[in-house]
């Protein structure tokens, strides 16, 4: 019984903490040129923070509300590629949740960093299942409510750069990146990607420099460059 309530409180705590930064997403999305409805639909349907920040970031770079087809296309691809990690989470969750057929549709929607982290950190199977559903549901509810609050706030603020919202968008990406910089290989890829995307910006249409930087990740990953000796084992265990 004590164990169960601890899963419940962890789930709600994670949901609240994650939901809070939905405020930043809502405000930044409106600053990027999306309207409140578009911002809300992204949180309801895409429901993956990294991909949502990437989508609105590329839209902002490509001209905001008046974005052209090329910019929208680059935004779609950026969001899609950033969502790839969710596929790996799903692989780990599938045997835990053990759903068949159409029963996979809703758990797939709730498969995100937080629900996976809480579920896989539980020892007992019952708590793993409970942790997934509770965290997924809590994050979904709070993330969407706070997105709406942030979008309304962003809309009321007006000029994004006057309020430093452009800096906040950059800080959001730094915050998403930070916990992933533990290994030398990741740091090398991050440095290369930052330089490539920044240096390529004057020469390529918006969004393309980000995708070009993704090529650096594929090359380093394929050849396993800059790896620590133990990095491979750790990677395989995850």
């Amino acid at each position: 019984m004590a164990k169960q309530s601890s899963v419940t409180s962890i789930s709600i705590g994670v949901g609240l903490a994650t939901g809070l930064y939905g405020i930043s997403f809502g405000a930044l999305s409106v600053a990027a040129g999306l309207d409140i409805w578009q911002t809300q639909v992204l949180s309801l349907l895409m429901f993956s923070g990294g991909s949502q920040f990437a989508f609105v970031g590329v839209i902002a770079a490509a001209g905001g509300a008046g974005v052209g087809t090329a910019g929208v296309g680059a935004a779609i691809i950026s969001a899609w590629l950033l969502g790839i990690r969710n596929g790996f989470y799903a692989v780990r969750l599938a045997p835990i949740l053990n759903r068949v057929g159409l029963g996979k549709l809703i758990p797939a929607m709730l498969t995100i960093d937080e629900s996976t982290a809480v579920s896989t950190s539980q020892a007992e199977h019952k708590n793993q299942v409970r942790g997934f559903w509770l965290t997924g549901a809590a994050v979904f509810v709070f993330w969407n409510l706070m997105t709406l609050a942030g979008a309304i706030l962003g809309d009321a603020l007006g000029d994004p750069s006057k309020w430093g919202l452009d800096a906040a968008a950059a800080a959001a990406f730094l915050g998403l990146l930070w916990p992933r910089l533990r290994e030398r290989q990741a740091v090398a890829v991050a440095a290369a990607a930052l330089i490539i995307a920044t240096a390529a910006t004057p020469f390529l249409s918006a969004g393309v420099p980000v995708l070009l930087a993704g090529v650096a990740a594929v090359v380093v990953g394929l050849l396993n460059l800059f790896a620590n000796p133990s990095a491979d084992e750790a990677g395989a265990k995850r």
Binding site: L20, Y21, S24, L176, V189, A190, I195, A217, V218
Partner: protein, 103 residues
């Protein structure tokens, strides 16, 4: 392509990974090279977006108040401040720098 259509397509694209992971045999995605590339791709895209959002503007390389604001964000991340506090602090820092020094 309209922004609305883009939002729907991108949402479907992100969902495709999630549902794919529930359907494919786990051996496919457990290959170390594939999982390594996926992890690094996430790092590369986030870092590239950081560069574009923090160091460029209007299609040019452009350094301004965002850089000291990012320095403050980095210090707060190092001190393990909550995400939303770090984001808000960087916005306030950039806004104050612009208010007092312009640019």
């Amino acid at each position: 392509m309209s922004l609305w259509l883009g939002i729907l397509l991108a949402s479907a694209a992100v969902y495709s990974w999630k549902i794919l992971g529930f359907m494919v045999p786990s051996s496919v995605l457990k290959h170390p090279t594939i999982s390594r590339i996926a992890n690094l791709l996430t790092v590369a895209l986030l870092s590239a977006l950081l560069g574009v959002q923090g160091l460029t503007g209007g299609g040019e390389i452009h350094f301004d108040a965002r850089i000291p604001a990012l320095g403050i964000a980095a210090i707060l991340l190092y001190l393990r401040a909550p995400f939303v506090v770090m984001v808000a602090a960087s916005a306030i820092a950039a806004a104050l720098i612009r208010f007092f020094f312009g640019g």
